[in-house]
Amino acid sequence: MATAAAFGVTPHKVSVCVLLQMYAPPAQAEPLFSVSQHNHLGLYLLALTKSHGDFLEPKLADLLTQLKEISGSLGDWLIEHLTSRLSSLSSPDDLAALFSEFRGILGGTEPAVIEDNQVVLDPNSYLGMFVRRCILAFNLLSFEGVCHLLTNIGNYCKEALSSCLPYELHGLDDSVNDLESSSTYENMDLENIVFQKVTEEMEANKQPSQRNSFHLHTPKALSGLVQDIEILAGSISNRAGKSGETCSSLDTSASGARHADTSGDMFLRTTSQLQGFFMEQADAIEKDGCSFPLNGFEVILNRIKKLAPELHRVHFLHYLTCLYHDDYFGALENLRRFFDYSVGIGGFDITPVPSRSKGFERYETGLLCLGMLQFHFGHPKQALEVLTEAVRVSQQQSNDSCLAYTLATICTLSSEMGSSSTSGMLGTSYSPTATIGTSLYFKQQLFVLLREALKRAESLKLKRLVASNRLAMAKFDLMNVQRPLLSFGPKASMKLRTCPVTVCKELRSCLHLVSEYGSESPTMTIEGAFSTAWLNNLRRPMGASVLSLDNGVGEGSNAFQFCAQPSSIPRSVLQLVGSSYLVRATAWEIYGSASLARVNSLVFATCYLDASSSSDAALVHAKLIQHLATFQGYKDAFSALKVAEQKFLSISRPVILLLKLQLLHERALHRGNLKLALQLCNELGVLASPFNGVDNQLKIEASMRHARTLLAAKQYRQASEVAQSLFCLCYQFNLQVENASVLLLLAEIHKKSGNAVLGLPYALASLSFCQSFNLDLLEASAKVTLAELWLSLGTNHAKRALTLLHGAFPMVLGHGGLELRARARLIEAQCYLCEPNYSAVEDSEIVLDALKQASDEFQVLEYHEMAAEAFYLMAMVYNKLGRLEEREEASDSFKKHILALENPQEEEEEEDEPVSEMLVEKN
């Protein structure tokens, strides 16, 4: 019964068989078409039986339209023949006769008897198998079944007849094109056409895919690793794997609507086609996140559920949609439903799983998925409970691969969620507030766990898992020194360093993944099912959906094209590799190489955007825009932001919204609009979750900005309070990279409050942090601050400050942003001016040059306060030199900036889009 359920005879299959009969006519009949037409028909039929663009079998009307398009002038004949054949069936016996005729399509096992002109289907070819399965299914039918088939065929024809007419008109102008184009293929055999079409399609696909690629988003932090693992885990449960696809997914809402009004007989496609459909949809959901049309797809799922209640994968898709639309309860229910059902009997997808113990292993997978669900919705405690259970159960069942995936997930979870929420689970005591000791201990544990996970994945040869574990490892290396920092100070600092080399090594070995998939694909045995599915995909025709995309422009030849993926690498792998580039970009950001960070982001944006998840895409946009802001000022950044906002639509809140707030805050600070700045940084703080230990990055960012705002408002005491508590937070969670910048901020506060002596130790501590973590850019800026501090201690320290500054210059000028560069220049000028043996007349050029550059860059940033200072100094120098005209100019600029600083609101009003408006629109 099970096999019959998977492949039943339906009217559509009968008509495909009839077409096949025309494709391979019996010996005595003359073949009526040219070779190219013949090939077209064959390809079309192949496409028809393999495509999984939809879940329902096409109606006769659709079939006829497509026939018309592919075979041009012969289409009429084909249609005529097909419809007459189908409508001539009036009794069950006619059907029996028809099916016994079908037997003639197939050749015998011995190829001897074939005549010259005759086309015979190889019984073992794909189409031959199709016919054989149809015949077998028909033979298995009871009499009632035959009667059903008969009535269904009747309905099938009836529906088509009413809608047949318009296509007659449509077909006429196409036919000329068809003939032309088809003649070019006259001498080609089937294979050649396939490959030609593949390459053509690849080229044709490039543009649309680039166009579509920005249409992505979802909230997610630094890495898309979570999603990667989700995909990986998904592929445990369906070993058949995710098939990479580049073709645009079908417009589900439209097709949902299309099917909703037809209440007649509907038949699901074969299970393998359905499986492909499900895979594709799952991919689309994961890629598009919350922009995936919910309602339309829900309709489809419900219909499939109704038509084939035994296909439990529907529940999984339901779960995915709920997950990405933030419907916690729906997701929970559907996930549990899927695993409850699929364990008992299972849908079709249970077959490739090597069953060890009656499919018990699916329960671990269930736990794993549940853990990731809880993680996704921000319940780390529950997620950890579930995942520990998953570990336990998979150990009991000795399901190693599931264990490896679970460990990897735990690593991700614990590295993202911070220590306080996880320390309890990782073997230490259940203390609600993590002390520093446990947090260090926790980091060690995490490291051990990561190593363990990596080892396991390697020994099990789970390549993608290895890659993602390496990625996690790289992230760990990036953010933590490998040995606990029990005592921190300049003495020990040399030993306790993170090593950029290891980070790069990990990241690079992550890239090997691609080459492995590229080179040894056919021999891949570990995930055999996966690769076969994917090899099939290589030639997977998408006839149906291509046709529907074509809008009937009249290009008959284009209408019939094969669409395959441009590369043989599955999408999830590409995604993983893409996120490794993202991590690289971040790593370089931290290490302080702006250009390398930018290059890596650009590589990601150009090469992996199609495959990446929407959150990654949004993230990379944010990175690039931020880069723009620091290096080219706000004007460019805001115009780029506008573009990005449009591309990511309104749903893409968190990442883009965060970016916008950051930029606005930065600009408000520079312009001296402190009220607005305060408001903005408060809004930033609201974005973070109220729970302790969650969203730490965001919280730190918010209070850092708060401190800076207070500093700008000259409320030193409050600013230093905020910064102190921030330092405590960072220390508690062992966030050493952040520590460095907080210390620098504290130094800055002390400097501004005129307490340079107190500022010095902070600056030095920050410096040593930077050195041990290789934070070169931050180090440079710490040196600049240090120079400022020395300078403010008195003019006799100007020399020392200047040497310090010159030491930092290569880094500052090479990688620093506008602000840092300008500041460094300004201080340089100040140093020169302070030097006792400085003479205005001789060395004026050096100073003026530095001041000019500084003032230019500050102007770009609209940093009025500093620009005013630069112009003030400039005016003084000119005054000394007696260049009055230039002095006036400089002093005018000075005045302008001072005025702008005093009335920040005016400037806002001049803007074409006031900030208040932007804020409203965003909310």
Binding site: G145, G344, K358, Y363, L370, E385
Partner: protein
């Protein structure tokens, strides 16, 4: 009294009218209620009232109520009652074709009946034709669903729905539709998924013609929440009470439902239907003794009844009455073996005998007869758990839950199955669901608490909370108190532990149970009281502890010695305390 007579007359007419329209189930129901009305003892000989049950005081009380309140309920019935016979009189002499159609219908040749009635315009014939068409479609649908297993299209639909809907909707627009037509229209709309309109149409139907129980039950199936139920605008009729009682029952408002049924029993005191429904409610309230009494009586009056007997078998199963269950199984088997209920009863019997494979076979048969038979799915899950086939059990429970998400037993079963597989955290979700639906069931709370207590989770605080709930729900097996005491002791909260031990002790005394628990409680309390320097109390506990042999006796002696030492009283011979 007059109201009873009224009811009787109304029902008599209704039965005839319903039978004329071949609405047999509704006619059957009405006839059952007709004979269920209490006979007037003055008019009838004692022979007629011989099976009058010992009229309890409760029933008497309700009878007086009923006399007071029955009169205001009936007037609307009078109105609709007038309208119906008027319609009847239009065709005082039945059309010949109608007669032919009806005979075909009675022989279950529905299509033929519809064909015979094809050109008839009388309302009765029109209804009968459509109804015959509908049933023909239903029959075909049933057949198809069997034929189609294997064609990948397992959900077949009634293909006549569209034609019927078109005709009936035009009739309704013209205003020439009768209440029966509305009823049929309602069913068709419900089948097509148009719930709101279906509800409206059915309300219209029952307001015009309240005696059609089938219409009421269709309406009841459409009332999935109390809000929907209260939003219906139903005119007051005594049939509405039947409807409300059954709707309350379905919505798990057991007490309201019971009150309604008991009120109805005032008039319909012999109605098997009302009795069975009361049993149903009592079963939900877990009053098994009462259910058993009711069913024994029901079987005496109506020995060939199969409906609701599966519930009776559940009760017998719970009480482990082997012979009674086998007797019942034999009886229903002889009556009608191809009823899902019969299969379920037999399966229950085998399950009680511990032959789980056979039980599963019969449950499967029951499910083949009715694949939405909720109880069978749940019980089959239990069987699979017994057979250690947890995946199958999970599947069965899940089906039950998907059929009716308010079935707390299946949720509980799911939880148990996962707990058995060593996934207590995963199981918790299901336990939570079940206690949410049945918050006053101590067993569920205890199961959840045990889940929290497992070695893997060790979430003792949560376990304590659950046990507390269980104890407050009246935990019959007295696990909760004992566990509470134990847990508190483990967590080092001795005051609380002592409190619960004392409570447990009191309880054991009240129930006169002697167990190891008693010793445990006593020895803890003795020790604790000594620690707290409440020596007198400690001595009392020690004295009681001395009644038991074994090592406890020695500990008791030691404690007593210690007390003596503490209080620095002159040392006495402890054996002196020996009783």
């Amino acid at each position: 009294m007059s109201s009873k007579e009224n009811c009787r007359n109304e029902l008599r007419t209704a039965i005839r009218q319903l039978s004329d329209r071949c609405l047999h189930p509704a006619a059957k129901w009405a006839a059952e209620q007709l004979v269920g009305i209490e006979q007037d003892p003055a008019k009838f000989t004692p022979a007629n009232t011989r099976f009058q049950r010992g009229s309890s005081s409760i029933r008497r009380r309700f009878r007086t109520n009923e006399i007071a309140s029955a009169t205001p309920l009936t007037p609307i019935a009078g109105v609709s009652y007038v309208s119906t016979p008027v319609m009847e009189e239009d065709e005082a002499v039945d059309n010949d074709f109608y007669l032919l159609g009806k005979t075909y219908f009675d022989c279950r040749e529905y299509r033929r009946a519809a064909h015979a009635l094809r050109d008839q315009t009388a309302k009765k014939s029109v209804f009968l034709r459509n109804y015959a068409l509908f049933l023909a479609g239903e029959k075909r649908k049933e057949e198809e669903s069997i034929e189609l297993t294997g064609l990948g299209n397992s959900e077949s639909t009634n293909c006549e729905l569209v034609t019927i809907e078109i005709e009936l909707s035009t009739l309704r627009k013209n205003g020439t539709i009768d209440p029966f037509g509305l009823y049929l229209y309602g069913i068709v709309l419900k089948e097509k998924g148009n719930q709101n309109l279906a509800r409206m149409v059915l309300v219209e139907s029952v307001n015009c013609y309240p005696w059609n129980w089938s219409a009421w039950s269709e309406l009841q199936a459409l009332c999935s929440t109390p809000e929907i139920l209260s939003s219906l605008s139903l005119s007051n009729h005594w049939m509405k009470d039947f409807f409300l009682a059954s709707a309350y029952q379905e919505l798990k408002m057991h007490n309201e439902s019971l009150a309604k049924y008991e009120y109805l029993q005032g008039t319909f005191s012999f109605s098997n239907y009302v009795q069975a429904q009361i049993a149903q409610v009592q079963y939900s309230l877990r009053e098994f003794e009462q259910v058993e009494v009711i069913f024994e009586e029901l079987l005496r009056n109506d020995p060939y009844r199969v409906e609701d007997m599966d519930m009776y078998s559940n009760v017998l199963y719970a009480k482990e009455c082997f012979s009674a269950l086998s007797y019942l199984a034999h009886r229903v088997f002889m009556t009608d073996k191809y009823r899902p209920e019969s299969c379920c009863i037999i399966a229950n019997y085998y399950s009680l005998k511990g032959q789980h494979e056979k039980a599963v076979t019969y449950f499967k048969r029951a499910l083949k007869l009715n694949k939405n038979y909720l109880t069978a799915w749940t019980l089959m899950g239990h069987e699979y758990v017994e057979m250690k086939n947890t995946p199958a059990a999970v599947d069965a429970y899940r089906r039950a839950v998907d059929i009716n998400p308010r079935d707390y037993r299946a949720w509980y079963g799911l939880g148990q199955a996962y707990e058995v597989m060593g996934m207590p955290f995963y199981a918790l979700h299901y336990f939570k669901k079940s206690v949410f639906l049945q918050a006053n069931d101590a067993r569920l709370w205890i199961a959840m608490a045990q889940c929290y207590e497992t070695d893997q989770l060790q979430m003792l605080e949560e376990a304590i909370k659950c046990y507390k709930r269980a104890a407050s729900c009246g935990d019959k097996e007295a696990i909760a108190l004992q566990q509470l005491a134990k847990l508190h002791r483990e967590l080092g909260r001795f005051e609380e532990a002592a409190f619960y031990y004392k409570k447990d002790l009191e309880r054991m005394e009240a129930e006169e149970r002697e167990a190891q628990n008693m010793v445990e409680a006593l020895s803890f309390l003795a020790e604790h009281c000594r620690e707290m320097k409440r020596y007198e109390e400690a001595e009392v506990y020690c004295a009681r502890l001395m009644d038991y042999g074994g090592p406890e006796k020695e500990t008791a002696k030691n404690i007593l010695r210690g007390i003596r030492g503490d209080t620095s009283l002159p040392s006495m011979d402890v054996d002196h305390f020996r009783p």
